[in-house]
């Protein structure tokens, strides 16, 4: 450890701290070392396992097993014991889930307590990377990468869909990954701009395809309605970033991660190194674009502070004519309510308008939230069967279809790639008058079990609007994915100490620049302020980690 070598220059307190670290590291090292010894030999953990379990094969435990699982209880479809999902799952696989129900809103909190106290269920789904990193050093969760050889479907999909770079991006400094992420064949775009097409039609405008055209369209609407804002946005509350959706898809057009997708550190392909997102040229151009919209009163300045409801009310009250959307909100909220309130109103969501970065979508979005596995599961004699089961339910075509659509002939019908809920069953509001609901009454399409999958399966659930949107978006090219650059745990702590003030400063000043409260001539000053907050050190830290990982893991 380098800290010992420079001990001469360090204060006594620092040496003590360093000694403590080393002590801890050795202790935890020993702990995982022991597990590692056991783990090589899985011959005694074969209880209920299938002998030659292969990709595409139905998993059926050799004898009935039960498996504890943390269950994120969604208030929209509260967990019921009577769900067909549980029953059918046991019938098909011989595995019975023992769910520990945790209310969705405090899921992360309870998960930490359960893992911290060693009381966690074997399976811990609905974990978003990098949430698993916090538990790595405690040794409480399993380095699942050591056991993917038990998971043929997982390996098959990673290989076929070329997900290796994505998987590499979640590796820790030991080269292992601790989360089994949801895998997507194609990136799925979520958000874009929705516009009142009837208003555009009246003004003789066509749907904009680039941000320059969006600007022109807004100007035309403004000329027609000088007293109103063409665009008033939402998703500024309950998120650390104002107008989180807008910046996210606008940033994509500029090739930067902003808004929801903001990442303090980003990979610069040309330079081959990591850079600070908030000071890149692209980020500045993006700010200047929104600043222009605000200055010309084309976007409502309250967009960055108001609640979602306020923004939607402006749209419904025709005080604005454009808003950020996702396919669900477009159909279930905007269109549904507009049709009732405004005669002849039509609203469409457009494919994300193009910007300087060309037709791209952000890379790295093909991984979704996933499953962590408790280390103590390894001690169970049915460990192998458990891994096979996880592989079947979350990664096999059949398991994914089952979790999404349920039982053919009972909850859905299918012809080719066309899936339909059975009459009398509503899926995500597809039939408001249906007596039963796919999620509430049957337990399928549950966020805990159903995610990821082939494009065919994922798109089988699209509404016509979303289909049109996704078809257009899936033509675009992915931006390159940042190479693995895992930090060691003490670096991680240092990085988060630096990162929080940096991120706050970027967010605050993004807003100031955008709203015209700070002139663009102060951009250099802004960069200097970030430097004073250890921007360069943070970038260095990540670049060093990148070099180190490259050297150690080829």
């Amino acid at each position: 450890m380098s800290s010992v070598e420079n001990a001469g220059q360090l204060s006594r307190r620092q040496i003590l701290a360093a000694a403590g670290f080393i002590g801890l590291a050795t202790l935890t090292g020993c702990g995982s070392g022991d597990d590692g010894g056991d783990s090589k030999d899985l011959s005694k953990k074969q209880n209920g396992a299938m002998k030659d379990y292969r990709a595409g094969q139905q998993f059926k435990a050799a004898k009935p097993l039960s498996l504890s699982v943390l269950h994120n209880d969604n208030p929209v479809y509260p967990m019921k014991k009577a769900w067909l999902f549980w029953k059918e799952l046991t019938e098909r696989t011989g595995v019975t889930f023992e769910p520990v129900a945790v209310p969705l809103v405090d899921y992360e909190k309870k998960r930490s307590v359960l893992i911290g106290s060693g009381d966690a269920p074997f399976l811990i789904p609905k974990t978003y990377h990098p949430a698993e990193v916090a538990f790595v050093s405690s040794g409480a969760i399993l380095p699942v990468s050591d056991y993917v050889h038990l998971m043929p479907n997982f390996r098959d999909k990673v290989k076929r869909w070329r997900l290796e770079p994505e998987i590499d991006s979640i590796r820790q400094s030991d080269g292992k990954f601790y989360l089994l992420p949801g895998l997507h064949e194609k990136p799925r775009s979520g958000y874009s701009l929705a516009l009142r097409t009837d208003v555009l039609g009246r003004l003789g405008l066509s749907l904009p395809t680039s941000w320059d055209e969006v600007y022109e369209v807004f100007k035309a609407i403004k000329a027609e309605h000088p007293d109103r804002y063409p665009f008033s946005d939402r998703w500024s509350k309950n998120t650390p970033y104002p107008a989180a959706a807008l910046f996210s898809y606008l940033g994509q057009a500029y090739g930067v991660r902003a808004g929801w997708t903001y990442n303090t550190i980003d990979w610069d392909v040309k330079a081959g190194k990591f850079v600070f997102t908030g000071t890149t040229d692209a980020y500045r151009q993006m700010i200047e674009f929104v600043r222009k919209l605000v200055a010309e009163k084309l976007v409502d300045p309250e967009s960055f502070t108001q609640t979602d409801d306020e923004a939607v009310q402006k749209l419904l009250g025709e005080k604005s004519f454009a808003i950020s959307a996702n396919p669900q909100e477009l159909v279930q909220n905007y269109r549904f309510n507009l049709e009732k309130q405004v005669k002849g109103a039509e609203i469409e969501m457009i494919p994300v308008p193009l910007g300087p970065a060309g037709p791209v979508v952000l890379g790295g979005v093909r991984l979704e939230n996933g499953v962590m596995i408790s280390s103590k599961a390894l001690k169970s004699d049915s460990f192998v069967a458990m891994m096979q089961f996880v592989d079947w339910l979350w990664y096999s075509d059949e398991g994914q279809r089952f979790a999404r659509w349920g039982v053919e002939g009972v909850t859905y019908t299918r012809s080719g790639s066309q899936y339909k809920p059975k009459p009398g069953i509503s899926l995500m509001g597809s039939d408001p008058d249906a007596p039963k609901d796919m999620q509430k009454d049957y337990g399928f399409y549950n966020g805990v079990f159903a995610y990821g999958g082939s494009w065919e399966l994922v798109s089988s659930m699209f509404s016509p609007d979303e289909k049109k949107f996704q078809d257009a978006m899936s033509q675009r090219e992915q931006t390159p994915i940042a190479p693995a650059h895992p930090l060691q745990s003490f670096e991680q702590e240092q990085a988060s100490l630096w990162e929080t003030p940096l991120r706050d400063h970027v967010t605050q000043n993004t807003l100031k620049f955008v709203l015209g409260k700070r002139p663009m001539s102060e951009w250099e000053a802004y960069v200097t302020e970030l430097k004073a907050k250890n921007m360069d050190q943070l970038v260095d830290l990540h670049n060093k980690a990148y070099e180190r990982f490259k050297k150690e893991n080829g």
Partner: protein
């Protein structure tokens, strides 16, 4: 009585106006929630509902009334509140009574033990491990026992007991009452005010509490209604998170939230007026002694 001066009457007038405004500001959100609970989803979404329901209907109430999980959790809340309050009252009364005895040896230490917990706690995970290894998880005791003594309530009660004349207890002792007899037959009947106050304090806090239940209960049918409500409300507002699986994007209706809020806060609101008359005298009696 002296006739109030002019300036005093002006002061009272201004005071009245300001306080009325405060009352309106405080009551408005509640009135709004009540109005929403009787309104149609569409009108709420359009922001038309303020003080009076728009598109009056009772359908939402019917929907919530039919939700068996809501009633199950509601029943849990009643059960947890009753059991936990009873346990808390017995333990707090006994502890406070002991502490109020000036001649007790080691009284300082006993007070210190209690006050210590106001400043330091074991932390979340040790607490969790303790409760789990005592086998209290998934039972009412996980809620009742760890929160049985609120040190603030304990000190208020202790001060109240100290204010009772010692002569009374001496007289009772001479007449042949045991220690428990004195507590049950003399002290407690004289302490109705503080007991009522403490019952109110405890029951309100148990009724509203959600965290220990959230922590120690693993099944949704064991949760109190507060957890149900919390999940319902925030589940609806965090629907737009990036990266949330699409299966989670649908939202709970605003009117359903409103109905649940009304139904949850109603009982405890009804209890208040009945206990409130004890409330002022109870706390004051304890406090002035100091």
């Amino acid at each position: 009585m002296v006739k109030p001066s002019r300036s005093y009457r002006v002061f009272q007038g201004v005071n009245g106006v300001i306080l009325t405004l405060v009352v309106i500001v405080t009551l408005y959100p509640f009135a709004n929630i009540v109005a929403r609970s009787f309104s149609s989803e569409r009108q709420i979404r359009a922001g038309e509902v303020t003080l009076w329901p728009k598109g009056f209907n009772l359908t939402t109430y019917k929907i919530v009334f039919q939700d068996s999980m809501f009633w199950r959790n509601y029943g849990n809340t009643v059960l947890y509140t009753v059991v936990a309050t009873a346990v808390a009252m017995i333990l707090t009364t006994c502890y406070a009574y002991v502490l109020s005895k000036k001649h007790l040896k080691g009284r300082g230490v006993l007070v210190g033990v209690a006050v210590f917990t106001m400043f330091f706690t074991g932390g979340l995970i040790p607490n969790y491990v303790l409760v789990t290894s005592l086998g209290l998880k998934n039972s009412v005791w996980a809620i009742a026992l760890p929160n049985a003594i609120s040190v603030f309530n304990l000190l208020v009660m202790k001060a109240f007991f100290e204010s009772l004349p010692t002569e009374l207890e001496e007289a009772a002792q001479i007449d042949g009452l045991s220690t428990y007899g004195i507590l049950l037959r003399i002290v407690l009947p004289l302490s109705k005010a503080v007991v009522a106050t403490m019952v109110l304090f405890y029951s309100v806090s148990f009724w509203n509490s959600w965290f220990s239940a959230f922590l120690y209960m693993d099944k949704s049918e064991l949760m109190p209604v507060t957890v149900y409500l919390r999940n319902l409300i925030s589940g609806a507002t965090t629907g737009g998170n990036a990266g949330a699986a699409d299966a989670q994007l649908s939202q709970v209706g605003a009117n359903i939230q409103a109905v649940t809020i009304v139904l949850t806060s109603l009982p405890i609101l009804c209890v208040y007026p009945f206990v409130q008359r004890y409330f002022v005298s109870g706390v004051m009696l304890g406090a002035v002694k100091g």
